[in-house]
């Protein structure tokens, strides 16, 4: 149909759109998006061979449940990184939101509000970061680095410096440890987060604007995109995700831990980059991040199963990150 619409243009110059060429391009696209998934599969295969008790449904659930919190943080961070920004605050925002959910519970609020309010709190914090980045043009790195420090302090301040025990049975503990259709709730929440964000990024105009702002903010501005609003929105999304992760964390440990989530920001970013999203913005896929997060989860699970000393785990983790990214870059060299 579209071909028939464009006869006015010189037919000689019409691009070669043979279906063969298109399929080839499609294949390359797939490989460039999913090359990292191959790394994950290889890793799983390796672990299946060498780690005892690795292959089982319950271990798969284990891995995904353990991954769910960083994966959700990483999903939010992906959106920020797509705009060439960064969010270093997610670990601390998780802590503030997690702690506040228990504070609310202990104050006698219904379970639903104890989850919703912290999520909104996360969004509000994201709004603060986003406003500073978008409207005061401060570097995202430094704004969220300040956030990392300040919100951690706030989390401690909320509890006077110590963990906060939930009174009675925490009403929303199923967020952390419940099951739904035989699958743990955290896994559902992780999948839902990715499904929603995938849709928003790939199937809405907002998603195109995110990519455009990340790819060339000036061009986006010239094209009439409300760059500042888009920029603000991604930090809100990241804050929302961190808020959800915080509530899940609190649900999982049935208490408010002000020191929770420390260092998660770097884990989340590692997952994003492993997943193929460029830190320069404008390029990447949200589902790649999920794969990246699972790589880290499988690795850590496998090594615990193999009883690896903790320092060896750290070394292996570092090496795997570099190797995976290097493989990914070789692929890029081939497709470009």
């Amino acid at each position: 149909m579209s071909q028939s619409q464009a006869p006015a243009a010189d037919p000689a110059e019409a691009p070669a759109q043979t279906s063969g060429a298109r399929i080839a391009r499609r294949a390359l696209d797939l490989w460039s998006t999913w090359g990292i998934a191959l790394v994950l599969l290889l890793l799983i295969a390796l672990m299946a061979l060498i780690a005892p008790n690795f292959v089982s449904l319950s271990n798969a659930f284990n891995i995904m449940r353990a991954t769910s919190i960083t994966a959700i943080l990483a999903a939010g961070v992906t959106v920020v990184i797509l705009t060439a920004g960064i969010d270093l605050s997610v670990g601390s925002v998780l802590a503030v939101c997690g702690v506040s959910s228990v504070v609310l519970w202990n104050a006698g609020l219904p379970a639903v509000l104890c989850v919703l309010i912290p999520i909104l709190l996360g969004a509000l914090i994201g709004l603060v970061h986003g406003t500073l980045v978008a409207y005061l043009s401060l570097a995202a790195f430094i704004v969220t680095l300040a956030g990392l420090t300040a919100w951690r302090g706030t989390a401690y301040a909320l509890t006077g410096g110590r963990p906060l025990i939930a009174e009675g049975d925490l009403g929303f503990s199923m967020l952390g440890s419940g099951n739904f259709i035989a699958v743990p709730v955290p896994i559902w929440l992780m999948l839902a987060t990715y499904a929603v964000l995938w849709f928003m990024l790939e199937r809405t105009t907002w998603g195109r604007h995110v990519y455009a702002v990340g790819g060339n903010p000036e061009a986006a501005l010239m094209a009439g995109i409300k760059v500042r609003r888009v920029l603000t929105s991604v930090y809100v999304i990241s804050g929302l995700a961190a808020g959800l992760a915080g509530a899940m964390f609190a649900a999982r440990v049935e208490s408010g831990q002000p020191n929770s989530g420390q260092g998660y920001e770097l884990e989340a970013i590692a997952a994003v980059v492993l997943g193929g999203t460029s830190l320069a913005g404008g390029r990447g896929r949200i589902l790649g991040t999920l794969v990246g997060a699972l790589i880290m989860g499988v690795l850590s699970n496998g090594m615990i199963l193999m009883n690896t000393p903790f320092f060896t785990q750290l070394i292996v983790q570092g090496v795997v990150i570099v190797v995976a990214v290097a493989i990914d870059s070789l692929k890029n060299r081939y497709t470009r």
């Binding site: 243009a9 391009r25 195109r208 060339n216 061009a219 094209a223 009439g224 995109i225 409300k226």
Partner: protein, 509 residues
């Protein structure tokens, strides 16, 4: 001399009055008045830095004027963002490419106005079909599914134009749209613009190419140093007068080709084939004191030939000899060691260090000459920079001024000095006058000629045919990555070049 009043029956679409704008204390526009009628193409002319782009950015909501007011469609407006201006029907094609390289052509075409269902759900099918439709008038032959980055600069420019002309604009501003376009594309663009004018739109057209302006414009406004000099109907003023008003003096002969005495062969290229860029095999010589131009259609591969010689693009096979000796040039470093210099086609992306000062930009490739054990002799660096600032009459406040604050022509001169500072034996110039005003152009031609007189071999890539014909001793016509004809600079005509460049000549013979 001043604004022609009541000259157009269809009425005034836009009135800009007393527009004043300063950047960090430096006045860029001072009390400028301009009108735009319905159904006219209004050319803005002026030297680099005269304030043309700034004036248009004030109109388009990119900058807010410090003083003055704008009356559009009978109402006062002060757009605070490009989006707002666009909503009201003011669309701009900016001087700098503004596309998103990682998005596809189709997505770039829809940027900011993506087809959507329910207001936010992207309609991918319409995205593609609309892209094909938008590309029709000017950008046919571009695959809408390709990522933008895979397109040459010229084609990217065409996509941008296609996007702008498709919007239902009342005012369309084109800021040097043809800087990267070849003749064929330019001509197609002009047809579209004329149709838009006839439909009653108002168009602002900024260009440094007089022939284009004379072909298109109904009225010409000249700006100088941020001030309005004159607005006249095209027929009421000569090209020479316009140039005079722009730069405050007359330019008798724009092109300079004097005292050429070609000497020994400096560059000898034999059967050169690029490894990945699809050019070759090409063979040619450039002699000392000779200016040789590579000409051809956009995308013909001229830039790639130059880049392969310079070592930025990898060589597949073939040989390059410099001064009679085989040269294995593995990168720009090797080229520079053999006293080859190259001014790349994209100033901002490939040549300028925007945040560094003029001095550093001039000396960055010749620091070795001014240092011992890697420690710089500051005085000699300053002296070297000053010498070129004076020799090339680069207009700046201070050598420590950041180069990004210079106008295009002066920036180009800075880049040129960088290579002159190395006392080159062979100088490769890719589009040396793109986006440069006539005055500066003339000076650049003078510099080129001076270099040739001094025995430098010059290889020029130019899309501006009159320029290539005017300054070169020989022309090499490139088509599909190979050289299809060699023409004498003095004897050849534009028609000769075009017939070889498009392949017509071959079929005829």
């Amino acid at each position: 001399m001043t604004v022609t009043t009541g000259g157009n029956a269809k009425g005034t679409l836009l009135r800009m009055r007393g527009i004043t704008k300063a950047f960090s204390g430096t006045a860029v526009l001072a009390d400028v008045d301009v009108d735009l009628y319905r159904g006219e193409i209004h050319a803005l002319m002026g030297e680099n830095g005269a304030g043309k782009s700034t004036l248009m950015k004030v109109l388009g909501g990119v900058h807010l004027a410090d003083a003055g007011h704008i009356e559009f469609d009978g109402a006062h407006v002060a757009f605070t963002s490009p989006g707002e201006a666009m909503d009201r029907g003011v669309v701009m094609i900016h001087q700098e490419l503004s596309t998103v390289p990682d998005m596809t052509v189709a997505e770039n075409l829809a940027l900011g106005s993506e087809p959507a269902r329910a207001g936010f759900v992207l309609d991918r099918r319409r995205l593609r079909s609309e892209a094909l439709r938008k590309l029709g008038p000017i950008g046919g032959g571009i695959d809408p599914d390709l990522p933008m980055r895979k397109l040459s600069v010229g084609r990217q420019q065409m996509v941008e134009i296609a996007r702008a002309i498709d919007q239902q604009a009342k005012i369309l501003v084109l800021d040097e749209p043809t800087a990267s376009l070849s003749d064929t594309e330019s001509r197609r663009l002009f047809e579209v613009l004329e149709r838009m004018r006839d439909a009653g739109m108002g168009l602002f057209y900024i260009s440094h190419r007089l022939d284009e302006v004379w072909r298109l414009a109904d009225r010409v406004t000249v700006l100088r140093d941020g001030r309005h000099v004159s607005t006249t109907r095209r027929g009421e003023i000569s090209q020479n007068d316009v140039v005079g008003r722009m730069i405050g003096r007359q330019v008798e002969a724009l092109y300079v080709r004097e005292h050429r005495r070609p000497g020994d062969v400096v560059l000898r290229v034999r059967d050169l084939v690029g490894r990945d860029n699809g050019i070759g095999p090409v063979s040619f010589d450039v002699r000392a004191g000779e200016v040789v131009s590579l000409v051809g259609l956009i995308g013909a591969g001229r830039t790639e030939i130059a880049r392969t010689v310079y070592g930025v693009d990898a060589r597949g096979s073939g040989t390059v000899e410099i001064g009679g000796r085989q040269a294995r040039i593995g990168g720009p470093g090797d080229a520079i060691a053999r006293r080859i210099g190259m001014v790349p086609e994209s100033r901002k992306e490939q040549a300028l260090f925007s945040w560094m000062d003029v001095r550093d930009n001039i000396t960055i490739a010749s620091l070795r000459k001014h240092s011992r054990w890697g420690v710089l002799n500051q005085r000699r660096v300053d002296a070297a920079a000053r010498q070129f600032i004076d020799d090339l009459t680069i207009r700046i406040r201070s050598p420590r001024q950041e180069v990004r604050t210079l106008s295009g022509g002066n920036q180009q001169k800075v880049v040129l000095s960088r290579w002159l500072a190395n006392d080159p034996r062979l100088l490769i110039l890719d589009e040396p006058t793109r986006g440069v005003d006539v005055g500066a152009k003339h000076e650049i031609y003078r510099i080129i000629n001076e270099q040739a007189e001094q025995g430098t071999a010059l290889l020029v890539v130019s899309s501006d045919l009159p320029e290539a014909l005017g300054i070169s001793d020989r022309l090499l016509v490139v088509r599909d990555g190979v050289i299809v004809a060699e023409l004498d600079g003095a004897g050849a005509t534009e028609e000769d070049v075009m017939s070889h460049a498009t392949g017509v000549a071959k079929e005829a013979s």
